[in-house]
């Protein structure tokens, strides 16, 4: 299946990845090749076949939905890893941006 450059640009936007023109062009060729390969699946008859179950059906299952107390070192490191901070608070860009005039 051929992918137009605009389609790839749309995907890149959905995935929140900035790509320049050269990267977009390269990505469309590469994706086209890979999709061309995986399209062989369309030829496999799967009528009546169930989907593979989530991995490890015999697994231990979910733990209770309860907060787990982290050790103080973990908390310290989480804060240390903030890309920007004020005191112990994470600084993030504003969610609502001033409309452009």
């Amino acid at each position: 299946m051929a992918l137009k450059r605009e389609e790839v640009a749309g995907l890149a936007h959905l995935a929140r990845i900035a790509l320049n023109d050269e990267e977009l062009a390269r990505a469309s060729t590469e994706l086209e090749n890979i999709l061309g390969y995986v399209d062989r699946l369309q030829k496999i008859p799967t009528e009546g076949v169930e989907e593979a179950a989530p991995s490890a059906v015999a697994a231990i299952g979910f733990r209770p939905d309860e907060a787990i107390q982290s050790d103080p070192e973990t908390l310290k490191l989480i804060i240390q890893n903030f890309p920007a901070k004020t005191g112990n608070l994470l600084k993030a860009p504003a969610v609502f941006e001033r409309p452009k005039k």
């Binding site: 992918l3 790839v8 995907l11 890149a12 936007h13 959905l14 995935a15 929140r16 990845i17 900035a18 790509l19 990267e23 990505a27 590469e30 994706l31 090749n33 890979i34 999709l35 390969y37 995986v38 062989r40 699946l41 369309q42 496999i44 799967t46 076949v49 169930e50 989907e51 593979a52 989530p54 991995s55 490890a56 015999a58 697994a59 231990i60 299952g61 979910f62 733990r63 982290s70 050790d71 070192e73 973990t74 490191l77 989480i78 240390q80 890893n81 903030f82 890309p83 920007a84 994470l90 993030a92 860009p93 504003a94 969610v95 941006e97």
Partner: protein
Amino acid sequence: MAGLNELTIVEARAQLDAGDISSVDLTRACLDAIKKTDQTTLAFLEVWEEQALEEAKASDDRRKNGKILGTLDGIPLALKDNMMVQGRNVTAASKVLEGYVATNDSTVVKKLKAQGAVFLGRTNMDEFAMGGSTENSAYQITHHPKDAERVPGGSSGGSAVAVAANMCIAALGSDTGGSIRQPASFCGVVGLKPTYGRVSRSGLIAMASSLDQIGPFAKTVEDAAILLEAIQGKDIMDQTTTDAKAFETSTLDGNMPLKGKKIGLPKQAWGDGMSDVVREKVSAAVEQLKSLGAEVVDVDLPYADEALAVYYVLMPCEVSANMSRFDGMRYGYRSPNHGLLDTYLTSRGEGIGREVRRRILLGTYALSKGYYDAYYRKAKKVQKLIQNAYASAFTHVDVLLTPTSPTTAFKIGEKINDPLAMYLEDIFTVGVNVAGLPAVSIPCGEDEKGLPVGMQLIGRQWDEAGILGMAKTYEASRT
């Protein structure tokens, strides 16, 4: 006399127990080997020299007091750079995690610490484990220990080289589509991908969560078994781990009678998709197993040919979801001075490398409205057919045998610009991940340039003992 760094876990353990060597001696020998060798191989992203020597010293003290913690006490190991060790850098070889400090221990590291293991450093890999050559690292390209112009395989290339070049006693890697077995094959060491759910993934930086599994690289089959025994087990932090019966190294028998054991050669794998030397060496190994008493039969593994296509739908879908957390907000690289949307776009555009971006885009496409049924749902159905085919084959054979990789180590740069050619390197290994089975790669010869060839033994779910037992018997018959 061989250097201490060349010892196996079993040998090192015996010498430690006898009081002939100390863990500090052993650790220092590995650190010296890293200094000497790793200027050319570039297997390590960071060496924790000071901490490793402290850990070794602590182990020696425990031993003096008769209080050793476990089989791995004082044994120096290397870790792939996607397993968290609290307080130490971990990057998954990505710029997006440059400077990131692990906030807690991964479960495997907790288990190894509980045994008293020594950690030498973190090893290079393809960024977020995406690749088959360790060329996709954002930091450095790792070189094959026998030929610096060639790749060591990937994505766990650094760990494979660290073991092959005796820069550690053993190492851990992770395997989503072949990332332990293929580099093990290229570098001539033992690499095991456990049954999905055998080893906790908590604290492993995720690539494709339904396929990822941590496993050992080792110099011998028994060492791989010892590491597996140490890291396995259910974990409340990973709901896909299970109560399955624990694997026990003590059950392995190097003289396992192969009489009555049936090995299947999947005809889908033994077609024309492999190099002559790989066919020759792996066929010789099959003859060797026959001479040890095993019965060898051809088996039909319908849809096995489709595993790579299934993999290249399911894996990118999971990748696109898992990579969304690297958004420049709470940790990792943030491109400064933008509004919200541009912070996302540029942080990810600048921080995430080409192969990872490619897979995110592919997954975003396959999961988008209008394509979900045609790609994801279809792939999940074919995955079921593949799982059924393996299950049916295992009703009449004990082990399936294939080459690990269609070729020996290729040249740096040879496949990096042709994603599909690179992906085809995984043709024999991905089926195992798609079916959730255990498989081990063991060395079975070398090509005319001295580059190793590996064979893959695939087992029933939870039957690591079966494949490792057979591998150990084969290994013993060659020495």
